[in-house]
Amino acid sequence: MSFLDLRSLTKRFGDISAVEDFSLSVAKGEFVSLLGPSGCGKTTTLQMIAGFINPTSGSMILNGKNLAAIPARARGLGIVFQTYALFPHMTVAENVGFGLEMRKVPKAERKRRVAEALDLVHLSHLTDRHPQAMSGGQRQRVALGRALVIQPELLLLDEPLSNLDAKLRDEMRLELRRIHKEAGVTTLLVTHDQDEAMALSDRVAVMRQGRLEQVDTPFEAYEGPRSTFISGFLGKTNTLRGDLLETTESGSRFRREGLILDGPVAHHIPGPVEVCLRPERIDLVEADEALVSGIVSERIFLGNQWLFRVDTPLGELMICRRNRGRREAEPGETVHLSWKPEHLRILPVEVQG
């Protein structure tokens, strides 16, 4: 049995269904991200686990204990809030020591453990500072130290990096990984940042409108999205709507705008489907090798890569190419595109709800 087991967790606020039939199992020591667009119910899920919101139905089992029967104060979870929620009238050491104080840990041991925690988050030099006199990244570390010092069975992080600027966010991302490794604590991270989720987690759980849509390792979720929503949410994608003509044991055939494309083996009934194609899987080739040709309508330079929009008979395609320091096609130029059939991902048509 898994360490954390959420089963059919549901929360309704009146008519609004914030979380619906949410089931997820997390192994001990695992780092799982809850990923999804704003308002999809991530915070609500986390707050139910934390004990600040009562589920409408469903069960939560942590290490064999039924969480619903334990008040928030006694759950012993480490929580890092989006706004850090550091006590402004206490020093760093007092903030971090608060949880130990509540557990009536003797003063000497408290001091030792606070020092250890501050060491873990690399803040030993700021013990007596007040949070107001610290940078966002430092506050973030204090919040982490405060949550970890009580040796929680589960660490809950609600968008812990979203208040930081881009550079600091990258830095703290690495820090978070290091700290998770060193502390070895089972972690649930809420985020709407797909890069963050993919970089940090053992598995990502993608949510949409209160429901869990897919749980997989970042690689599997990226390569094998179960819906065009996930494909579009995890990284960039080209979505083409068309008809699946036939599927055989060796592959499938797909038609769009009168063009027939080869695709991978698909387990769909022929008919309307959507096809996803990652921009980085499209190659620029010579005219005679092309599956389709088009005219560059836009070109964006991103430093390490180029982004092109190309008008083709299939529709507009986004193409991503690594910057090799060479001249690249300019807007107005004709380019010839190709990709391997297995890079097409055939998905059911999204029912817009």
Binding site: R75, F81, A85, H89, F98, R146
Partner: protein, 266 residues
């Protein structure tokens, strides 16, 4: 900071003058050697300050006002803090009604309140007693505290309390260690405003005092209805001095603007 234009400077100057002028007059009059309200004073004399000591009933009234202010402000604070916490972030039926009710003493004419209290206290046979005064003053001054504490509560980040709970704090510990320290400026500011309001409350108090519980404002008022000697001026001067001292101490401790604007600790 933006510099003020000439117009704003003149306007603010006149306004400040207008506010300060009565105080200057009162203090000036207090130092007159004459036996009537004379301004500007023809000399400098401590005669009327001396006279305070010869009028023990004024000193006694001052003590009553002081006690009354401290006790009623404290009582009202003890009531207003939980009320503000409930109103400020609870989500229950009748929340707005509750707030309107507790703030209503601000809007009911004080004369009406005075008559109402007179009748009400008589029912319980505590008219004119210190307890009766405390109850009435507590009701009148509650809105002042409530408003400042409400402002503090509004600025309170709920996740701070959640953080404390998640770390194992009981409700009482959360209040004592997190909530109260964070709204303290509002609470102290409210207490001070309430104390000052109680200390110089006249309109309502006139209706409900008896000779043994006469407060300083009532005593001063009844004094000037009989004579117009500068004794009232010298007493007022002492009260002004006392208030200024209180403000200076508070400013040192908490910062006045923060207290009276009712901002939470940031």
């Amino acid at each position: 900071m933006r510099r003020n234009g000439a117009f704003a400077l003149v306007f603010n100057g006149i306004f400040a003058l207008f506010m300060v002028a009565p105080l200057v007059v009162v203090i000036g009059v207090a130092f007159t050697p004459e036996g009537y309200l004379e301004f500007p004073p023809s000399g400098l004399s401590f005669r009327w300050f001396q006279a305070i000591l010869d009028n023990p009933d004024f000193i006694e009234a001052a003590w009553i006002s002081l006690e009354l202010g401290v006790v009623s402000a404290t009582l009202a604070t003890a009531f207003a803090v939980p009320a503000a916490l409930a109103i400020g972030r609870g989500r229950f039926a009748g929340r707005e009604g509750m707030q309107a009710l507790f703030l209503s003493p601000l809007t009911v004419p004080t004369v009406v309140l005075g008559i109402a209290f007179l009748r009400f206290l008589s029912l319980f046979d505590i008219n004119g007693t210190f307890v009766g005064l405390v109850l009435c003053h507590a009701i009148i001054i509650t809105p002042f505290i409530l408003r400042l504490v409400l402002a503090s509560v509004a600025g309170l980040d709920r996740s701070l309390e959640k953080a404390a709970i998640s770390l194992g704090a009981s409700d009482w510990t959360v209040f004592r260690r997190v909530t109260l320290p964070l709204i303290l400026p509002g609470v102290v500011g409210g207490w001070v405003l309430a104390f000052i309001t109680s200390f110089d409350e006249l309109t309502v108090t006139v209706f409900i005092v008896n000779p043994s519980t006469t407060t300083l404002p009532v005593r001063l008022f009844s004094h000037i209805t009989q004579t117009t000697d500068p004794l009232v001026a010298s007493i007022s001067t002492v009260v002004i001095l006392f208030t200024v001292l209180l403000m200076v101490v508070l400013d040192r401790l908490y910062g006045l603007d923060r207290l009276l604007m009712g901002e939470g600790a940031r």
